[in-house]
Amino acid sequence: MAPGPWWRIGWRNLGRNRRRTLITAAGLAFGYLAVVLLVGWMEGLTAEMIESGTSTLSGQLQVHDLDYRPERKIYDTIGGRDGADVDRLLGEVAADPAIEAAAARVFGGGLVSSGEATTAGVLVGIDPARERRVSNLLRALTAGQPPEPGTNEILIGSEMARQLDVDIGDEIILVVPAADGSMGNDLYTVSGIFRSGLAELDASYAMMPIESLQTLVVLDPNRIHEIAASTVDPWLAPEAADRIRARLEPLGLGIEVEPWTRLRPEMLDYAQLAQAWNWVIIVIVFGIAIFGVLNTMLMATYERRREFAVMLALGTSPLAVARTVLAEALSLGVLSLVAGAIITFPVMIWFHNSPPDLSFLYGDYTFFGALIRPRLRVEYSLEMWLLTGIALLLTAIIASLYPAIRSARVPPADTLSGL
């Protein structure tokens, strides 16, 4: 807009009926608060789902033999039958800047038995020191401690412990089909019990030192099924996977490197759906606000019909009249935005740093196989804050277009003669 008195006129007009201005600005400011908070909460929920879904066990990125998924046969170890240099692979994966930590895993499936009770179990061979930095399961112990490397210790889920009626220090028997066709079997001591909140994990997963499981299923120490890695930010995983794939390509092992977005496409779909919803929220909230602002501006301009008539009669162009109205609306928008930011950010900072605990309303729940805590966690999103601010200003302008046009079309003679 060209510089001129229109801005000053618009701004000053806001002060003519301060109460009305304040109420309208408050409406827009609360609209801003509502959008930023709702969007922040939805992003918080998505982030919680992704973090929980990937860091409970799977990690944000996994390396397997090309043949391993989806059947997960015990023979399809990384590098095939000959195995691979596990330490080197771990080093290569962990060397990527987006990777926080990487850990090797061996899987087996068989019977877990104690006394009369027997259940089917998924056995995961882990390196406890490394695993602790990749997945959360070792931090979710309700009793005892992780299995000690070099021992026949085992960590089992709380539901499995209940089914087998065992506690810390009790012995359980594992019977597992081994890679050579024999039935591997041995006694293990329960060193710890975990509770992830995910029924499947708690009922059927058991973790033991990796070399102990390799012995049980007759796999050489250089044969592992999976390298799982955690990333500094889940959204960096796809690029990290591409880089690691390129880095491991020369080894010629025939492996796949998959980020969680490909291992768990449904979670990615949900995250994208949630982002699409952000726009819906903006449209609904400001769609309502438009009519509030429109009402105020119509009132304000109707009161000033005589004023506009005088301006027009003195030779002000209709466009200039419209400008004063738009300038007024935009000033109102800026005022509202400042007010909105002032009330929004303290709330955001509070909800981000110590999310209100809603566990008195409802308990933990699972969502896409991820455990969600009942908290109003919000995520910051600079992009959405800016977009919401722009949406607020646009709302003010769109709402005042009609009043502006009406003001510009006030017939001077008729209005001044009191018609």
Partner: protein, 252 residues
Amino acid sequence: MKHQRLLVLAALLLALPGRAGAQESARDIIDRVDRILRGESSHGIATMEVVTENWERNVTMEIWSLGTDYSLIRVRAPKKEEGTATLKAEDDIWNYLPRVDRTIKIPASMMMGSWMGSHFTNDDLVKESRLIDDYDIEISFEGPRDGPEVWEFLLTPKAEAAVVWGRIEYQVRKDDLMPTWARYYDEDGNLKRTLDFGDYRSMGGRLVPAVMDMRPEDKPSERTTVRYSELEFNIDIDQSFFSLRNLRSGVR
């Protein structure tokens, strides 16, 4: 018109007892075959050769059975698994693991799991003896097939039977009641596996197939072959032999 109806009725009346009789005799034949192969009780030594895409192995085992409800199988070789034993008593299966000196009962959820890494399942051990109870049996073919006269039976599961197969086809030679093959189909009618019998010879005073060969249809290179080297029938054995205590104690 009326005439025709009468004829149809007459035909039905005549046919019904005939069909019932055929059903009866099909069951009888299967039952007789079963009795020959099983005897009142039996004791034998067999070698099981398992060939898979990933490994091959031979297991030598000693087998006792009593009627259809009880059997005990004890591994004699290889050394690593010597003493491992399986007890089948009615519907339950226990495994004894000498290394940890424990018995474990196979849970219902693992019944379809492989038995000792072979192409037989735990369920086979339990259900194999109950074909007559679980299936409706009819003769689908009778006459010469590649030479000898045979019966072919079609076994379809009874409505209330908890079985895994959609149907089983079973061929038996007419002259000596020796089974030649059995084919197992899933519920969609796809052939899943074939059990071939062979090397018919006299053991323990009766003619039996000394070799059973199980081949899964989806992995043509894989098979499990069980070959009996010794077999005797109607031995002096009773139910108390098939106890958990005996399973654990390791009879030699």
